[in-house]
């Protein structure tokens, strides 16, 4: 089911959470809303879910205006950052909740509910935990239960609010891959909020970058990463060095786009190695330049770093760079 939000505005007191946001999410895609905290991405997700009423603008799901429909009437599934599992219910009861609260003829029989819940639990590989309480599960397991619970009502849109934000790095990576796989199987239109650019780049079909209540840029992960439309997007999607700056323009370069050489070369500027830092397969070098030029961070494959030492004079040149006018950042 496609999602269309049109000219959404939302104020919280004097704080503008969203201003004039228009977005189209095509049917079946996995879309990331990416931005720093307070940029409006979670508010937009909650507006789509019906948990927040926009001050202005419309929300359409599959072409139908749902701006004033309650969250339960929209055919959405919502996954919360802190799981929001019902503590007093078992895993089974949690997943069955959305089916049991259906009214009248819409409510499936107990046998149908049981079969469906167990099927979902095996989908999230937690069928063995049906009789457990949420407090007996790890964070990653709880989030999988929350996902199964959201899927039980057969949502046409799945909305996830920082779904992996409360988990540690290894579990986060695992669940990320798993969510991507699940999406490939189910093809349910999904929107997830994240402030982790790596997460967005890794699993999303499309990325929507938020800044201060507005959409800064949207596109495929490749588009957004390789052609950032603004200095904000450039900086948000990865580490950035200021190569040079003046009153009108700023040139930015990624640490892995810096080339170091012991000998002078055309276009290269002299710099001194201040620190060398080994982080797994990558070496991070801190470089200071003469005059008031900003210092640089360069990333090299660890095996290439032997040629350089702390204190050594090197010549640095960018292999790729982006220039933005200063007012736009």
């Amino acid at each position: 089911m496609s999602i269309d939000v049109t000219q959404i505005g939302k104020q919280f007191g004097t704080f503008t959470a969203l201003s004039d946001v228009t977005l189209h999410v095509p049917d079946g895609q996995l879309v990331a809303l990416l931005g720093p905290s307070g940029s409006g991405k979670t508010t937009l997700l909650r507006v789509i879910a019906g948990l927040e009423t926009p001050d202005t603008g419309r929300v359409h799901l599959a072409g139908q205006d749902v701006t004033h429909a309650g969250p339960g009437e929209r055919g959405i599934g919502f996954v919360f950052q802190h799981y929001a599992l019902f503590k007093h219910m078992t895993v089974f009861e949690n997943v069955a909740f959305g089916l049991k609260v259906k009214r009248g003829a819409a409510r499936p029989t107990a046998a149908t509910i049981r079969e469906k819940v167990m099927r979902l639990l095996s989908l999230v590989q937690l069928d063995w935990a049906a009789a457990r309480y949420p407090s007996q599960l790890s964070g990653g397991q709880r989030q999988r239960v929350a996902l199964a619970r959201a899927l039980a009502v057969e949502p046409r849109v799945l909305l996830l609010d920082e779904p992996f934000g409360a988990l540690d790095a290894a579990v986060r990576q695992e669940l990320r891959d798993w969510l991507r796989q699940l999406h490939n199987e189910l093809h349910v239109t999904s929107v997830f909020v994240t402030h982790d650019q790596e997460e967005a780049l890794e699993i999303a079909d499309r990325i929507v970058v938020f800044n201060a209540g507005r959409i800064e840029q949207e596109g495929t992960p490749g588009d957004v990463y390789h052609h950032p439309a603004s200095a904000f997007t450039y900086r948000f999607l990865g580490r950035a060095n200021v190569w040079q700056t003046d009153a009108r323009e700023q040139t930015l370069v990624r640490p892995h786009d810096l080339h170091l050489s012991p000998e002078p070369a055309p276009g290269a500027v002299p710099a001194q190695i201040v620190r060398v830092h080994q982080v797994g397969p990558t070496a991070r070098l801190e470089l200071s330049r003469a005059g008031d030029l900003p210092s640089l961070e360069a990333h090299l494959p660890a095996r290439d770093v032997q040629a350089f030492q702390v204190g050594q004079q090197v010549y640095v040149s960018p292999t790729a760079q982006q220039t933005y006018s200063v007012t736009s950042s």
Binding site: L51, F80, F86, R103
Partner: protein, 260 residues
């Protein structure tokens, strides 16, 4: 320090409690039971129970709705409501009683109208129930508000996105989440309602057999030098207090182990 605390607890808390039972049973079990069976005592028991049976459910409903409204929603006037909930706790119960006399008494604002319609509030059970309800207004709400605030809105929002109605959300999600705090609040409200003296004393008029609650009855008997009878009635209240404490301890032990 520990010894000092224990001695103080013994002197200030346990000794008086013990004394209540010793004095009540001073002349033996016969006179004790007899004192409890006096018609005026029975009437006081009945009035106290009636008061509690009306005041506590009222304040439970009020407390749950006030806590629900202030903890789960943001609306203009929210902090005013939070302050107002504390009003009955901040005011001396005697003042609360006096305000009711000023409002509903024969010389009060609504006095003439009440009299014309043959309604009696002051010096009648209605006034006692009203005063008790006011004084114990905040007990359930105050217990629930911090708990509900700490729990946040996520669970309710999850239930709504899963298609539950507002009522289903409240019954299946909110209520189970607050059940122990609620029970705790109800018990404390109950204890306070049963023991209320100040406000009730002002509006009651102390008509024997008609407008005496248990605490008022204890005072009257004591003032009439019916020590055994006074302490026998007092021992009922003390027993109830002990029961309350036991229940409270039980709830605390239970919630300590509850799923978090």
């Amino acid at each position: 320090m520990v010894t000092l605390t224990l001695v103080l607890v013994g002197l200030l808390l346990l000794l008086p409690l013990l004394l209540v039972f010793i004095t009540a049973l001073r002349s033996g079990l016969g006179p004790y039971l007899q004192a409890l069976q006096l018609p005026d005592t029975q009437a006081a028991v009945r009035l106290s129970l009636l008061t509690v049976l009306i005041a506590v459910p009222l304040n439970t409903v009020f407390g749950v709705s006030a806590a629900w409204a202030t903890a789960k929603f943001d609306f203009p006037g929210r902090s005013l409501l939070l302050t107002l909930i504390d009003l009955p706790l901040a005011i001396s119960p005697v003042i609360s009683g006096l305000v009711y006399v000023l409002l509903f008494g024969r010389q009060g604002w609504l006095g003439p109208w009440l009299e014309a319609n043959d309604l009696k509030i002051i010096f009648a059970p209605a006034g006692i129930i009203l005063a008790t309800t006011f004084v114990t207004f905040a007990y359930v709400a105050r217990e629930l508000i911090p708990v509900m605030q700490a729990q946040g809105r996520d669970d309710e929002e999850a239930a709504l996105t899963l298609g539950a109605s507002g009522w289903q959300t409240f019954m299946r999600v909110t209520l189970p989440n607050i059940r122990w705090a609620l029970l705790y609040g109800v018990i404390m409200c109950n204890a306070r309602a049963l023991g209320e003296f100040g406000a009730v004393s002002v509006v009651s008029g102390k008509i024997r057999g008609l407008t005496n609650t248990l605490p008022l009855h204890v005072e009257i008997l004591y003032n009439e030098y019916q020590t055994v009878a006074a302490f026998a009635v007092a021992s009922l209240l003390a027993l109830f207090a002990l029961l309350t404490l036991a229940l409270k301890a039980l709830i605390e032990a239970r919630t300590g182990r509850a799923h978090t």
